[in-house]
Symmetry: C2
């Protein structure tokens, strides 16, 4: 590992940890290639028609998610840390170029990938919040279920690559 794992703050963070049976390289590719992100990012029946990625600190990370009813959720943040194949961090609190941006429940996400001895990946996703209230709201919105379902989709896609 060439990164320092995020130290969890139980009052402000929520995390998903799972072992998956695809290697870190493929998980990384699925996370950082727009044409792949659109295929797994939103838990079905939601879709992700649009994804834009400028993979560097300060670079744009935009996703548009669409509900079955056609409502769209257009979110743009920026990457903060990019350690190839190992660690990806981005935030909704800053837009491209690190510009602050207003918005409800800002969060910073960190994805950490570690190869397992069996050729899979120890996958960790953390969302950091600014207050216990925001953490609760994010949890109540179904963060763990949503990110878990999206991860299942990512793994299924990675197996086809």
């Amino acid at each position: 590992m060439s990164f320092t794992p995020h130290v969890l703050d139980r009052d402000l963070d929520i995390e998903l940890i799972r072992e998956v049976d695809v290697p870190p390289e493929l998980v990384w590719r699925a996370w950082t290639t727009p044409e792949l992100v659109t295929q797994w990012f939103a838990p079905k029946p939601y879709e992700t028609p649009i994804c834009e990625i400028d993979l560097r600190p300060g670079g744009r990370f935009r996703t548009v998610m669409r509900s079955p009813e056609g409502d769209e959720f257009d979110g743009t943040g920026c990457f903060l840390d990019v350690v190839d194949g190992e660690r990806l961090a981005w935030t909704s609190a800053l837009g491209p170029g690190f510009r602050p941006q207003a918005g409800p429940m800002p969060f910073t996400a960190v994805i950490e990938l570690e190869a397992t001895s069996s050729g899979g990946t120890r996958y960790r996703a953390v969302a950091m919040h600014q207050s216990p209230e925001d953490l609760k709201q994010h949890a109540d919105m179904g963060f763990l279920e949503g990110w878990g379902a999206a991860l299942d989709q990512l793994v299924a896609l990675a197996k086809t690559l």
Copy 2:
């Protein structure tokens, strides 16, 4: 230059550009050494009794400024980009570890240093905001005057190093 200069958005950014007669290495040292920052960061008669620096993306940048009346302004943000001797970016919108944090008028600051042919530095400081209202408020608070006066103090200090 090993960085891409920030592209100014006149509706959201404010900038200070000056040529100063100390080299980039000394300006950088004055900006990134806590015991030096405390000597120049706040325009007199304000003081900066405390400065904490963890000079890496996600690392803590804390300053406590004190007014002549003894009021203290304790601000903690985090660094976003550290290009040794050339470019320093940090934000008040995120705390250490990139955690979002609430606060009025969040801004991201970028300091860009370029050596001049005469041995000095072309110094550029930019503050980026999320709205024209925040820009106006920051400007009305005296951003340009304050950062200009602090830069004078920085240059005077750098000449003694």
